[in-house]
Structure formats: structure tokens, C-alpha cells
Symmetry: C2
Amino acid sequence: MARFAAVHEAHATLASTRQVYPARAHLFHQGDIERGIHKIVSGTVTVYRVTADGHRQIEAFSGPGDYVSLCLCTTSPTSAEALSRVETNYVSREAFERRLLQEAQFRQTVFHEIDKASADARRQATLLACRCAKERVADFVLFLDSHFAPEADGYTPIRMSRCDMADHLGLTLETVSRMLNQFKQDGVIDMPRADRFSLKNRQYLKRLAGQNDEADRRHRRMAL
Amino acid sequence: MARFAAVHEAHATLASTRQVYPARAHLFHQGDIERGIHKIVSGTVTVYRVTADGHRQIEAFSGPGDYVSLCLCTTSPTSAEALSRVETNYVSREAFERRLLQEAQFRQTVFHEIDKASADARRQATLLACRCAKERVADFVLFLDSHFAPEADGYTPIRMSRCDMADHLGLTLETVSRMLNQFKQDGVIDMPRADRFSLKNRQYLKRLAGQNDEADRRHRRMAL
DNA sequence: CGTACTCTTGAACAATATCAAATAAAGTGG
DNA sequence: CCACTTTATTTGATATTGTTCAAGAGTACG
């Protein structure tokens, strides 16, 4: 299996460096100590953990603008793997801590990012606790549609495998495949190939996923 | 249904006031705006949300020392209900925000608390995604054992109903009951009554819950 | 005591996992 | 560019787990 080296373009005067990873490369591994912080510039990253009994739980598919597995513990609770070519802005742990102490504006941003990550995790827990397979996949299709731009052919690309989706949704890859093809049969999505789709009936999926239109209002967040 | 009024013991010079709630009273409701922050002094609180389709998801059973549903959004994403008589230290939203801006020490504490809440939520998501009913209940029994002190009779009290446990673990109350009684049959727990138990074989439950002994090391957290 | 809960237990049912095979797509080396 | 190999996806048949429905047993409370 080939090994990849990240390309470092260090700017002597800047705390953050640009890093580039090819598809399938790891940004870091579960258990890494004193790792720094990545903010994605381009590409998609899977953030996952492997449990004691060998199950893989994908916590997030992160994209441009997202911090990867942002948390305060210095030992990484997760691994992060590039799904495609990925560029990140990387800050060493040391520089990150220094900035947190010194810059109020940065501190506020990180504060809110961690709060958002927390809200996402709670949302995911609710999804896993309360919703059936069809509803989970519906929710995920809506996520794909809203987070990935359509390509030239008009179809939204599906960059992760059925297994990746399954490990994120707490299902098996067969069940994910069945639900997607059921949506296809029912004309809810157009999926000419397994790796691309286009939404035909958003309303139907939103109803399944339990997203009401009125539940879309914004919440004020604290000024800090 | 009776309504309860919280007892306010305001100290004019202090930002925080002591509040007392009887069992079954709500500290606040999902959707409340500009609500303040509670830190539990004594008693147990269930933090839950109700989804659009009416499912109740219990996010946490919080006890002394815990902040109740600490997050930065001012509209409460959850409701909080007292399981027993509960005392809290309450700070208004306004005072909370002021303290956050002014006191570095307090800010750090809150920062870490939110980070911890985030880690808990991710842990819960992993539990729901990867573990079967028996393993989830095993994990919960260990939680009960470690968070609630035994009473005079030597048994650890179970303060929540089977339904509460079910809504926390993503199961039905019947399944929870079956698993608990299976543990009882197998001599893993001693449960003379439905509302108290004592652990007989911790090792067995730890193995089920996927808790290795070596996974117990502490992680360094950032100084901030 | 009797009424109302909550908990337990059983049986039938439904959803999803598991196992296995067939198909499709994507690399690989000539 | 084409056969060949490998990997991912789809689909079907069966097994398992947990839910649902229903009834009975404790327990609490007036």
C-alpha cells in the first residue's frame, strides 16, 4: 500500500501552513498526541473513530471552511482521512493555544465552532436513536444535496462509498443501497450511476427526515 | 396537573441565585428564549428534546456539578425536568455573558464544559450507531453505578423509569426491562426491586460495553 | 382495600442484518 | 484500446434483533 507525504508550504512569518493530501491519505490518526488543527480549504474529509470491538463510526464528512475534529483534548479522539485531494490550513497545537490565549476574536470563533460541533453530535445521536433506515438515508441525501455542488453534468457527486454512509448512519451498506435504490424507483432521486444523483422530490425527503419548513429559523448566538 | 414555582433566594450582591425545584418540575422548556444557566447543586435532571414526529430523546441525566444543557445558543434546544428535588445555582443569561467576557478563568471552565458535552454527545452517537440492546443497557448500568451513590440498604437507586432509560438508549421500555432482568437472571446484578440494584459482575458489563481497562488513561487538555 | 401506575413477560410481527450471488464499474498490464 | 483482475454495488433469500401488542404482576397511594 502506497504511503503519502503531505506537502508543506511553510511561510516563515505565518503560524499556519498550507498542507495538501491526496485522496485516501490520513491527516492524522486516532490517538495522535499534540496534533495541530486543520481547517479545510478544499476537498472532503471523513472523521471517524474505531471502537474497541472494531466498528468504525464516521462522525462527520467535513468540507471547505470546516475545522477537522476540533476539540480541546490534545490526544486525537478520531482519525481523519481525505476522500479526495484535500488542502488545509494547518496550525500547530502550540500556535493554536497561543492564539486562543491572545486573540479574543479567534477565541470566540473557536468557541462557537466547538459549540456547533456539539450541536451536530447531539443531532446525530437523535437521528440514530429515533429514526428508521429510510429516514436516516433521506436525511443524508439532503445533506449531500446541500453540501456538495453539482458537477458539469448537473448531478451532485457522491464521493463516499455505500460503506462510508452506512458507518455514518449506523446501518449496513446493503440497507443504504436498498434505500437509495428505493428512492430511485420511487422517482425521488435521479441516480444514473452509483456515484451521482440529482434531487427530484425534496419535499418528500424533508418530510421523511422530519425537517419542517418552519423549523428553519435562525437562533441567536451569544456575543461572547 | 399541579404547577410548581421555583424558590428564588436572590442574593443582591451575587450574580447567581439558588433555585429549588420539586420532582417533576421543569427547569426550562425546549424553545425558551434568553434562558439563563443552571449548575446543579443536588438532585438529578433529565435533559431531553422532542422531535417533530413526537419522539422524546433524553440527551443526559445530569447530576451535582453538571451544567444543564450548556450551549451558546440562547434558544434552548432542550427541556430539563427534575427527577427528584433539585437545587441549582442559576445565572441569568445576561450575567452569564458578562462573566464570559470578563473572567478568563470562568471562560476557560465553560469552554471545557462545552467541549466535554460535545465529547459526551459523540460518545452517545457511537453507542447508538454501533452497539446492540444488551450492550447499551450494560453501558447504562455502569453509568448508574458510577454516578449514583448506594443508599443505606447498600443498593444503588434507579431514579428514572424504564421509559426514561429507553428514550436515552434508543430502545423501547420493554427491551430495557428484558435486558435488565436478563442481567439479573445471569447474576450480573442483584435487583430485589425495579428501582434499585447492586453490581455483582462489573467485569462482565465492562466487556459488553466495550470498556477496556487500559482505555482508562487520562487525556491532557489544553491550558487555554 | 381498591385504583392507578409501572414493570415484567409472552407471542406475533416488522425491520434490518447477514450471507450469498450476480452485476457493474474501475483499475492494470499488455 | 482491450482482456483481465479487482473492487464496489445491487439484489435476493434467510436469520436475527428488537418492536409492537397484549396480558398479568408488583408497587404506590389515596
